[in-house]
C-alpha cells in the first residue's frame, strides 16, 4: 500500500477526512526533528489541541474517591475524616485580634485615669454643715501644715 505524502495527509486532516492513524502519522511527521521550519506552527497547534487545558480538581476530590472506594468490598485503605471546611478566613482572625487589642488598650487607659470622688454638697442640718466645714478646714490645715490650727477648730464658734 502506498504511503500517503505529507501534503495528502494534511489535506485529509484539514478536510476532516483523515483517520486516527493518519492524524497520528501527520503529527509525527510535523514534529520530526528534521521537519522544515514552516511546519513548526502546525506541529505546535496539533500538540496544544491534544493537551487538555489545565484544571485544578475541587477541594477534597481525592478524598471523595477514596471514600467511594471504601464502599467496595476488599478495599480497606484508611481514609482520613473529611476535612472541615474552613469557615473563618484570615481576615476574620485579623479583625478579631485587632478588636481584642483595641479593647485591651481601652481598659488600660481607663485604669490609668485619676479617680475622682464626688462629694455631696448638700447638708440637711446645721450640725452636718458644721461637720463638713470642720473636715474641709482640717483637710486644708493638714495640707498646708499649719501646725495646731486643727486643734483650735475643735471648740464651738464664738
Amino acid at each position: 500500500m502506498k504511503t500517503p505524502t505529507i501534503d495528502e495527509l494534511r489535506k485529509k486532516y484539514y478536510d476532516g477526512d483523515a483517520s486516527l492513524e493518519e492524524e497520528r502519522l501527520l503529527k509525527r511527521l510535523l514534529q520530526a526533528p528534521d521537519a522544515p521550519p514552516e511546519w513548526k506552527e502546525e506541529a505546535e497547534l496539533m500538540e496544544i489541541l491534544s493537551t487538555p487545558p489545565e484544571v485544578v480538581p475541587p477541594a477534597g476530590f481525592e478524598h471523595r474517591i477514596l471514600e467511594r472506594l471504601q464502599r467496595e468490598p476488599d478495599f480497606n485503605a484508611e481514609v482520613q475524616p473529611t476535612p472541615v471546611k474552613r469557615f473563618f478566613r484570615p481576615w476574620v482572625y485579623a479583625t478579631a485580634v485587632a478588636a481584642a487589642m483595641m479593647g485591651f488598650v481601652f481598659i488600660m487607659q481607663r485604669n490609668m485615669e485619676p479617680e475622682y470622688t464626688v462629694y455631696s454638697d448638700t447638708c440637711h442640718t446645721a450640725e452636718e454643715a458644721k461637720a463638713e466645714i470642720e473636715n474641709a478646714l482640717l483637710l486644708v490645715a493638714n495640707t498646708l501644715i499649719l501646725g495646731d490650727v486643727a486643734d483650735d477648730l475643735g471648740g464651738p464658734c464664738d
Binding site: Y14, E41, E44, L45, P53, F61, L66, N76
Partner: protein, 158 residues
C-alpha cells in the same frame, strides 16, 4: 494488590484524569463522577491492571469510555446550527502564549463543537464514537472538525 498499593500507584493519577474528563464532559460534577466511576472499575480489575504493559493507556481509554457514556446520556441542548457563524466570528484573543490563545479560541466555540474537537484531539475518539456521544451525524462531525481546524490554523498563524 492491596488497597494501600492501589491508592499509592493509581489514585495519584486522579488530577490528570480529572483534567481529561473536564475537557470532555465540561462539567465539574460529571467529571468527578466519571473519575470516581473509573477508579471503582479499576479497583475491580486491579490484579489484571498489574499485568498490563501500558496501564496508563488502559486507564485513559477506560476514562474516555466513561466520558462517552456520560455524554450519551445528555445529547445536549447545543445545536450545531450556529457553529459556522461562531467559528467564523471567533477572534484570536490578545494572550501572547500560544497555548492560552488556542484554548481561548476553543472556549469561545459552542460547547458541542468544543467537545467534538476535544474528543478527537485529546481522547483520540473515532468519528463513530463522537457521533455516539454527541448524537451528530458523521458528516456533521467531519465538517465541524474541518472548519475548526482551518480556522484554528489561520488564527494561530495570525
Amino acid at each position: 494488590m492491596t488497597s494501600k498499593e492501589f491508592e499509592e500507584k493509581y489514585v495519584c493519577l486522579a488530577p490528570r484524569l480529572y483534567q481529561v474528563a473536564m475537557s470532555l464532559v465540561q462539567n465539574q460534577q460529571d467529571a468527578e463522577d466519571v473519575v470516581q466511576e473509573t477508579f471503582v472499575k479499576l479497583w475491580r480489575e486491579a490484579d489484571r491492571l498489574e499485568q498490563m504493559q501500558n496501564a496508563q493507556g488502559y486507564i485513559l481509554r477506560m476514562l474516555r469510555n466513561a466520558c462517552i457514556d456520560q455524554l450519551r446520556l445528555r445529547h445536549d441542548e447545543t445545536d450545531l446550527l450556529h457553529v459556522e457563524e461562531s467559528i467564523a466570528d471567533a477572534q484570536p484573543p490578545p494572550q501572547t502564549d500560544a497555548k492560552d490563545r488556542v484554548h481561548a479560541i476553543l472556549r469561545s466555540l459552542p460547547p458541542k463543537t468544543q467537545r467534538i474537537v476535544t474528543m478527537r484531539h485529546v481522547a483520540e475518539c473515532s468519528i463513530d464514537e463522537i457521533c455516539e456521544a454527541t448524537g451528530e451525524t458523521p458528516s456533521n462531525v467531519r465538517q465541524i472538525l474541518s472548519r475548526t481546524r482551518k480556522k484554528m490554523i489561520e488564527m494561530f498563524k495570525f
